[in-house]
Every structure is written in C-alpha cells, then in structure tokens.
Amino acid sequence: MANHPKTAVSIGPADLKNCVMTASGTFGYAGEFAGFMDLNRLGGIIVKGLSLKPSGGNPPPRIVETACGMLNAIGLENVGLDAFIEKKLPFLKTLSTPVFVNIYGTTIAEYAELAQRLEEIPEIAGLEVNISCPNVKKGGIAFGADPATAHDVVTAVRRKTTKSLMVKLSPNVTDITHIACSVVDAGADALSLINTITGMAIDVETRRPILANITGGLSGPAIKPVALRMVWQVAQKVDIPIVGVGGIMGTGDALEFLIAGASAVQIGTANFVNPKTAVEVVDGIEAWMKANEIENIHEIIGSIRV
C-alpha cells in the first residue's frame, strides 16, 4: 500500500503533478484565488479566455442563478494578449503549476497568431483552444459546431505551437464524437469537455429574458450528467487524454469523470461557490485512493464497468 498515491498525469507534453485543473473563466488569472489556497498544489491552471485585442464583453445582466446551476453570458471579456503578457503573466510565472492559456479568435488567423505569440513564452505549458463559447457571435461556437471548421482551427494552431494543445468542445452539437475525432485528426494533444450548455431564463413579470444577451451558458451541478455522458462517449472514440469538466462540485464528482475515461478534470463553477474546491478535490482524490488501496491514478482512469 503506497503512502503517497501517484496522481500525476500528462496532457500531451505537459506534465501535471495531479489531475485537478481549474476551468477557464472561473479562476480569473489565478491571483484572485491566492488568498484561498496554495496555487502550487493544483495540477493545472487554465486562465480566462484570451483574444488578441481586449474585449469588453456583453452588457449586464450577465449572470443568473438557475436550479442547481447558473447561466452566464460574460461574452469573453478579457484584457487582450498584450496586457495579459504585461500585467497577468508575471504572477503566473512565479507558479510551479503548469499554466494553460485559453485562446479564442474571430478568424482562424487570429487563433494562429495567438498561438504563435504564446509559443515564445516558455512558462506557458499549453493552450486550450476555445471553439465552443456560446456567448460570442463571431468565433466560439461557430468554429466548434462543424467538424471541418474545427479541424481547420486546430490545424492552424498546431502549426504554430509545440506546447500542449487542448481543445475545448461544445456540448451544443448533435454528436460530440464527430467533432472530437476531427480535432484529434488535426493534431490535438487533449480534449476538454464540456463547455457550457446553451440556455435561457425569463422574468415572468416583465416577460423579458433575464440575461441581456438573451441566452447564456448553463454550468454547475445541473450539467454534470450531460458532461459525464459526453466524456464517456468520447473516451470510447479517441486515444488522447480527455479532461472532464462540467458541474464538478467535489471529489466524488471528479472521480466519476475519471472512471468515465477522463485523465484529468477541471473545476469550474464550484470555484465561485467554494474558492477552495480545487485543492479540496486534490486532497479528496488522494484520500480516496489511499482508502481504496489504489497506487496510481491510471488505475482509475477509464475503469468504468459496463
């Protein structure tokens, strides 16, 4: 029986000390959470979706709570590449935890340029290519809903980067495995799924949509069963690591994703509710492995019995 279970996993060329990452858009640029945890205990950090130019995002209201979840339509507000490098990167460089940058563009050329510029920064471990944001009109889901377009985006990024290349998939498609296989063919190192599920909420008294954007992305515990099903489906079709994300609130949820076939997980909405969730899941997985006499995390990954 090992005293210290091995929880390290590899996501392409990036080696993670454990399988717990924080999801883009829910963890800021990490510094916001430094007061709540030792950030170096995380397996990986994925920073807020980044575009070449700064983006102000959507008008308010941008968020609303729904049953067991929340809708958001932030609209990928971000500081832009130059300000990211100047203002956010210096802190991220001080961390030993691998940092992934979530990138999005409105054209394939923009995705490629982002990849090229970030390739020059050795402290960045990888990219998460966002082809699945439901809240921006251009880019985002427009690239993620069609296997051929998704292939083009990932091919263009792959040409520009030697870093770990993870592609974040949308659940708002008819068959997620089609997109998954296409993206793998284009050279992705890993897949992260799922992004939020498109939804909406209405104020009955005013009969207006609550979000200014009308629709938003649903996240939180409400979407976990959907995310889990999709991870399981994709795991049967691809041979690259899958990073499971969607409604993980604690250790039990994370283990479900690993068993379904995910090599790692991302904590998202739970960071808002309990800012310490990610480290608690790191500890929780280790404790569960010890209790079950499991020495290596790979004994859990994809161990589903059907």
């Binding site: 800021g28 995002g57 308010p60 209201p61 941008r62 968020i63 709570e65 067991c68 808002f272």
Partner: protein
C-alpha cells in the same frame, strides 16, 4: 442579523460587503452579496458584523430561516468602501429602501472618527413607512433626518430626491453618499453632474464570486475606453460620475 466572527471581517469599513453561502443542497448554488450594516462591539471591542436584509427572493428567505447559534459561511470583507475624509464637513447621506444597509454603518463610522463633530444630513426614502429602516439609529446619532414615502404613509409623499435637490441647491454639500434603487441613483447622478458635486454611490449587482473572477457583476463605465467596471473589485462604491447608469 448579527454574526459573531473573527479576523479581517472585524476590520471591515463602510461600503464593503460579504458573500454569503446559503446552504440548501445544490439549489441556491451561488453566494449572495450583502453590504455590511455595522460592527457589533462588546465592551468596546469588535466582536462581529451586522447584516440588514429584506426578504425578496429564495436566498433572503433562506437567510431569514437562520436562528441564533447557527453558523453561516461567508467570504469577506470584499470590495472598496466609501472615501471618508476629515475635510468633509457638509455631508449628505441619501438612501432609498434597503439601500440604507451600508449607510447606517457609514454614519456610525463618521460619528466615531470625527468624534461627533460632523453631522451628516440624512435623506431616507421608501415606498411606505415599513420600508423606512434605521430612522431611529440616525436620530440617535443626532443627525437631521428628512423622510419621504411613495404612498405618503410617512413624511412627505414624493421621491427622496425631491427634498434632497432643494437642499443641494440651497447649501451644496462637499460629499454625498448614496445607496438605493437604480432609478434613484440615476436621478442623483444627473443632479450631481448639473451642480458639479461629489457623490459616491454603492451599487448592487448579481455576482457569482465577489473576487473578480466571474466577471458577472459589471456596470457601464462613463469612459468608453473602459466600457465596464466590476462591482465587486472596482466598487461596490463608485464615484457616481464614473458610471453610466
């Protein structure tokens, strides 16, 4: 509601807020922001904080079910408080409804730091008499209080901004602190701009995290290059002239 607590919460300043987790399984998933209403002291030492809330939805209803001895999961103090300066001698406090929550804390703070020398003029508005909270607390501090209600059940039947604007034109204050419904703040913003006054307003917004990560709680900034400000980390107290409300 009084909350016994330790640490940095006891050093909260007026205008700051906390994020409260109301446990109800996975329902009421997100924390709720609440302004800090005051610091509770015992024998001169800070022992806890106070919240003032109005039951308007599921979250505040759940909060109303908490009883003495229960524990509450909170994060804070968060955000930036009101700017307090000894050079402000003529101060107005303008409140609409539950907006009084941070303003009572502010009035008590001003009383303490100035040794009671500065007596802000208080304007309290509400829909009806039942919405007028803390009137006694302000009077007990020796502050002049003007009251209005929409239905005339207490004070003059008009908007609080009506008598306030008259007062402003007669003797302009050096600082105005305001909190209340957006319509009230819009009106105040217009008058402040017209008379070239200084006003800080505490803004309410839905928010998921309270620490600048979710980016859900934006208000429009007047500066078009900036576009939006985040209530949680740029506020919740803003110079009203910096906002486009």
């Amino acid at each position: 509601m009084g909350l016994s607590c330790e640490g940095t919460l006891l050093r909260a300043v007026p205008g700051q807020f906390i994020m409260v987790r109301l446990k109800a399984g996975n329902d009421l998933l997100l924390r709720r922001p609440f302004s800090i209403h005051g610091i509770v002291t015992s024998r001169g030492n800070p022992r806890g904080i106070e919240l003032l809330y109005k039951v308007v939805g599921k979250g505040t209803f759940r909060l109303s079910e908490y009883r003495e001895g229960d524990s509450l999961d909170v994060i804070g103090p968060l955000g930036n408080g009101f700017t307090i300066s000894e050079s402000y001698e003529r101060i107005h406090i303008v409140s609409g409804g539950i907006g009084v929550a941070p303003l009572r804390f502010l009035a008590m703070h001003i009383e303490r730091v100035t040794g009671g020398k500065v007596k802000p003029q208080v304007f309290l508005g509400g829909r009806s008499d039942a919405d007028l909270l803390c009137t006694k607390e302000f009077i007990d501090l020796g502050l002049p209080v003007q009251i209005t209600t929409d239905d005339g059940s207490s004070g003059d039947q008009c908007l609080i901004t009506d008598p306030w604007e008259v007062s402003v034109s007669v003797n302009p204050p050096q600082m105005i602190y305001a909190c209340g419904p957006m319509s009230m703040l819009q009106c105040i913003g217009g008058i402040v701009s017209k008379h070239g006054l200084l006003c800080e307003a505490s803004i309410e917004s839905a928010m998921a995290c309270g620490i600048g990560a979710c980016l859900g709680c934006v208000v429009r900034a007047k500066d078009i290059n900036e576009q939006y400000k985040h209530v949680c980390i740029d506020g919740p107290v803003f110079n009203i002239q910096d906002l486009k409300i």
